[in-house]
């Protein structure tokens, strides 16, 4: 009996051992992965560069932690102040802007706080706070969460002092959207995750278009002087690909339901 079991285990162990030539690890934000763009880009990268990019899908805060600890070779995130600190403290070599998308306000389709006609994002938040309408916050130190907190601050409100209507769930974009769908509340989401989200329930896109909701993604290689095992040559190869015309075509032509999600802007500024 025992030898048979061992044989079985060995067979199972041998069955899943296929590897590409080069492998690197990159931490990316949930919004990038949930948008579905990763599934378009990664196979092309594998074909063009013979490089398997393994994605760790986390919030921006954790992605930066992974980079600081040297557990990944590069990060692709969207939170400018945190990125600048990452480079300034010597964890990353430099910051390369790749593309942007935008944040949108999602809420109950009957819009009890009346944000649909507002002129700015700040005004929308003030309406939600005034109506004490249920609001779901990521609460996970991600780029989206940081953006939301910055917007509250601009609106002259302190998120820490909010009452029961403000729900910090401490999870990824999809899980937070699930919570918002469950309680039929307002939430700040990136457009890509919203369009790809499968459980929309009674939620609708209520407010978008304020330039302050602009969401820039940047690629930051981890500094090999701090972590000698970082595969700098692979990281550089990937960066060259990400800013190339090939990436531009793929990113700009990626659409869900006829809507363009990301705008390529590498080298523009």
């Amino acid at each position: 009996m025992i030898p048979k079991l061992m044989l079985g285990a060995a067979l199972v162990a041998g069955a899943t051992a296929a590897q590409a030539a080069d492998v690197m690890k990159m931490a990316v934000t949930t919004s990038f992965n949930n948008s579905g763009l990763a599934e378009v880009l990664l196979p092309e990268i594998a074909r063009d560069l013979d490089l398997e990019v393994q994605l760790l899908v986390v919030g921006t805060g954790q992605a930066i932690k992974l980079g600081e600890a040297g557990d990944v070779d590069a990060i692709l995130v969207h939170s400018r102040p945190a990125e600048n600190r990452f480079v300034a403290e010597g964890y990353g070599t430099h910051r390369t802007e790749i593309m942007y998308n935008d944040f949108v306000f999602i809420g109950p389709s009957d819009d009890p706080a009346g944000i649909a006609g507002d002129a700015t994002a700040v005004e929308a938040l003030q309406d939600i706070a005034a109506a004490k309408a249920d609001f779901v916050s990521r609460g996970d130190d991600s780029g989206t969460h940081k953006k939301e907190l910055a917007l509250w601050q601009e609106a002259g409100l302190d998120a820490a002092g909010f009452g029961d209507w403000y729900n910090a769930v401490g999870s990824g974009m999809g899980a937070a959207l699930n919570t918002a769908a469950g309680m039929n509340g307002y939430i700040l989401s990136d457009r890509a995750s919203w369009l790809n989200f499968g459980n929309k329930a009674d939620l609708a896109l209520l407010f978008a278009g304020d330039p302050v909701l602009f969401n820039q993604y940047a690629y930051l290689p981890v500094n090999s002087e701090r972590h000698a095992h970082v595969q700098t040559d692979l990281v550089n190869k990937l960066e060259a690909w990400l800013v190339s015309d090939r990436a531009r075509d793929l990113i700009d032509s990626y659409r869900i339901g006829g809507e363009q999600l990301f705008v390529f802007n590498a080298g523009a500024n």
Binding site: M1, K4, L5, M6, G8, A9, V12, A13, A15, T16, K25, T30, N34, E52, Q54, L55, L56, V57, E68, A69, G70, D71, S171, G172, M173, G174, A175, L177, N178, A181, N196, F197, G198, N199, K200, H227, H229
Partner: protein
């Protein structure tokens, strides 16, 4: 209800068409858990027999500790291993974080106390029965342990299957140390968490049904291999 039916039919089609992504993550689930089970059994079973046979000062303490650790929270195991295996942790040079090996280590840590505790229970009862006989034959401690292990093999199989059940359905620890990387460390449980996050409840449920089916199939086939339910044995 719509979601549940949707899940059942998706699970059916995924399995009938042998969806390549499903096959890949299912095989990885099995590979990780079987490896962890093998390692855990090699540690836990001799330990359980040793604790039954040998009397020493901390024996009761260790048994109580093993029993308590059966309820070890996986997410804490994951977190501690993460800190140890991270590049800036003590074992960072091994580069094991976010690999299947890290997931195997996590599952092994989680199921060793469970297998050892359950195995110890049955070995202890057998030892009470064999004690006088084995002492009178003046066998060595190693021989005692081997005899006990062999003669309680059916009960040990149950202990191992309990460990298998806990490991294959575990998500907290392997999510943290594995990272749920597509084509590298994604297994059934982490894929379910991912699809739930995307709001795709149908696919998440389908994967859940596949996971349950897999656990049942493994249990049945091990019982069949071990011939536990045959009339001519026991």
């Amino acid at each position: 209800m719509v979601d549940i039916w949707n899940g059942v039919s998706q699970a059916f089609w995924l399995m009938v068409t042998l969806d390549s992504a499903l096959v890949e993550i299912s095989l990885r689930s099995l590979r990780v858990t079987f490896t962890a089970l093998l390692i855990a059994s090699c540690i836990a079973l001799p330990l359980a027999a040793f604790l039954a046979v040998r009397r020493f000062r901390w024996r009761r303490g260790i048994i109580a500790l093993l029993n308590a650790l059966m309820g070890l929270p996986p997410v804490v195991v994951g977190l501690v291993l993460y800190v140890i295996l991270s590049r800036s942790g003590p074992l960072g040079v091994l580069g094991l974080l976010f690999t299947p090996t890290a997931m195997i280590i996590a599952q092994t840590v989680i199921i060793v106390p469970l297998i050892a505790s359950v195995a110890h229970q049955s070995i202890r009862e057998l030892w009470a029965e064999y004690h006088d006989l084995l002492i009178s034959m003046n066998v060595t401690e190693g021989q005692k342990i081997r005899t006990l292990l062999w003669d309680s093999r059916r009960a040990l199989l149950t202990a191992a299957l309990a460990g298998f059940g806990r490991a294959i359905g575990e998500v907290g620890a392997i999510m943290i140390v594995g990272g749920n990387i597509d084509h590298a460390t994604r297994v059934l449980t982490t894929a379910i968490a991912l699809e739930t996050g995307k709001g795709d409840f149908g696919l998440a449920l389908a994967l859940g049904f596949v996971l349950i089916g897999l656990a049942v199939a493994v249990n049945l086939s091990i019982h069949w291999l071990g011939r536990t339910e045959r009339g001519d044995r026991w």
